[in-house]
């Protein structure tokens, strides 16, 4: 029997939880069909998380593409179908060639499995990021390096801790409802070990009374704890937080059944969410808003 998993019309970090809630009662081996026919929009997080979801299934899942032409065209520009075809049995018309045109896609969906992929991502992002950050988001040119550094560190988390490949995508768009400004969004999703399991593999690790996914996230994201005993480890996410603090950026990390968010003034997200539907790996979203230049 195949269970249909409905993708919401607007798929982002928050609404992806609806997808995971539908998956929660199913075993990993059950056949599913991910139905995106009524989906009109998806964030980089939504698209990379869909690919990670496919990696968690024992039996190759089906995928019904969106009905809307413009949605298909946009998803094609993000590179989604290039990888979805390898992970899902596709249903519906998928464009053979990637559509071109202005899309706000700073970095197409890119697989990250090893150190060389991180180099590739950083090389590709720099030139395009410089133009977009400065011209569209009024962010100082110097920030391009910090932005690329942030991207490098979050991608390395996959290589160092996930134990399997993941996905990264970077995109700019106008966040009209919530912020009324343009934003640049980095999404990095994997279906690997996740923070709790990674920290549990540290030499000499001992379970504490309230050890769970939420505590593992607090340890790694807030306190910079790593599974490696090397004192130089754990600086990546600390550096990312420092960079985002300077540019009013937001960081959220979901792993297992918990999600942690470091929120700037413009956002009202809850700092820690627990008892979410369980999902393997780690899913990271970074949002940097346009800077308002005083007139």
């Amino acid at each position: 029997m195949t269970t249909v998993i409905n993708v919401p019309p607007s798929l982002d970090e928050a609404s992806f939880e609806q997808v995971l809630d539908q998956l929660a009662p199913l075993s990993g081996d059950e056949k599913i069909l991910v139905d995106a026919r009524h989906t009109r929009w998806a964030s980089p997080y939504g698209l990379t998380a869909l690919l990670a979801l496919a990696q968690t299934r024992g039996e190759r899942p089906g995928f019904t593409v969106p009905d809307a032409e413009e949605t298909i065209s946009y998803w094609a520009r993000t590179g989604f179908f290039k990888y979805a075809g390898d992970l899902f049995d596709m249903h519906g018309s998928v464009p053979r060639n990637r559509a071109t045109g202005e899309s706000g896609v700073l970095l197409e969906i890119t697989p990250v499995t090893g150190s060389a992929d991180v180099h590739d991502v950083v090389e590709r992002i720099q030139q395009k990021a410089q133009a977009i950050l400065a011209n569209e988001l009024n962010i100082d040119n110097k920030v391009t390096m910090g932005f690329a550094m942030t991207l490098s560190e979050v991608c390395q988390n996959i290589v160092e801790h996930a134990g399997r490949g993941g996905w990264v995508a970077v995109q700019t768009y106008r966040w009209q409802k919530r912020l009324g400004r343009r934003v640049v969004v980095i999404a990095v999703c994997d279906a690997g070990l996740g923070f709790r399991q990674s920290l549990e593999s540290a030499p000499g690790w001992r379970r504490s009374d309230r050890w769970d996914d939420a505590m593992a996230l607090e340890e790694a994201v807030i306190r910079g704890v790593s599974r490696f005993r090397d004192p130089g480890r754990g600086q990546g996410l600390a550096g990312v937080r420092k960079f985002l603090g300077r540019w009013e950026g937001k960081l959220s990390v979901r792993s297992g059944t918990a999600r942690i968010a470091i929120t700037p003034n413009w956002d009202e997200d809850v700092p820690l969410t627990e008892r979410l539907a369980s999902f393997p790996g780690a899913q990271v979203q970074i949002t940097i808003p346009e800077r308002i230049v005083p007139k």
């Binding site: 180099h119 950083v122 690329a148 600086q235 550096g239």
Partner: protein, 184 residues
């Protein structure tokens, strides 16, 4: 003996001809391994100028692997040789990453500015900065002149300089101390 290491060349030679960014731990470890190999072969006391001029991006992980671990290794009691370092060609973003790792490990280093002068970066006490600054300004200070230069007795003066020597920020030549980065 003064040696010059262009990090960009080391990166291309040891990791990949096409790379211009120092990112990821494996890349940093490979680059540091090559630097250590060069220094170990030299054996004598060395002053090495590590040049970042042609490095694009440096991330925190690579800064930790290349800079922090290099300073830790050659600042340890069982260091493979007596090596001192001056870092040059650093951009603001390189320094951002490096400052973070220096603080984390309580390390310090000498950076050469574009005009050729030098400055200290990292975790240092005001007294350490003052001692290094005095030695740097004077170029070379003999043991006999040290108390007057630092404004304390001979034992304290030698102890302060030896502390900086242990941190690889000051060199000792027979009867004199020279700040790393200074022109004796």
């Amino acid at each position: 003996m003064i040696t010059h290491i262009d990090l960009s060349s080391v990166l291309r030679r040891t990791v990949c001809e096409l790379y211009s960014n120092l990112v990821t731990r494996p890349t940093g470890a490979a680059v540091r391994g090559e630097i250590e190999l060069q220094l170990t072969e030299l054996r004598d006391r060395t002053l090495t100028v590590i040049d970042f001029a042609h490095v694009g991006l440096l991330d925190f992980s690579c800064a930790d692997e290349v800079v922090a671990k290099l300073l830790l290794r050659f600042g340890a009691d069982d260091a493979p040789g007596e090596a001192y370092f001056v870092f040059r060609g650093l951009s603001e973003s390189h320094l951002d990453a490096i400052e973070s790792v220096l603080e984390r490990h309580s390390l310090a280093m000498v950076v050469q500015r574009p005009d050729g002068s030098a400055e200290l970066h990292g975790a240092l006490t005001p007294l350490e900065r003052e001692v290094w600054g005095t030695l740097y300004d004077k170029g070379r200070v003999t043991l006999a002149d040290l108390p007057a230069a630092l404004g304390c007795d001979a034992t304290d003066a030698a102890a302060r300089c030896d502390g900086l020597r242990h941190r690889r920020l000051v060199m000792r030549f027979d009867d004199a101390y020279v700040a790393v980065g200074a022109t004796p």
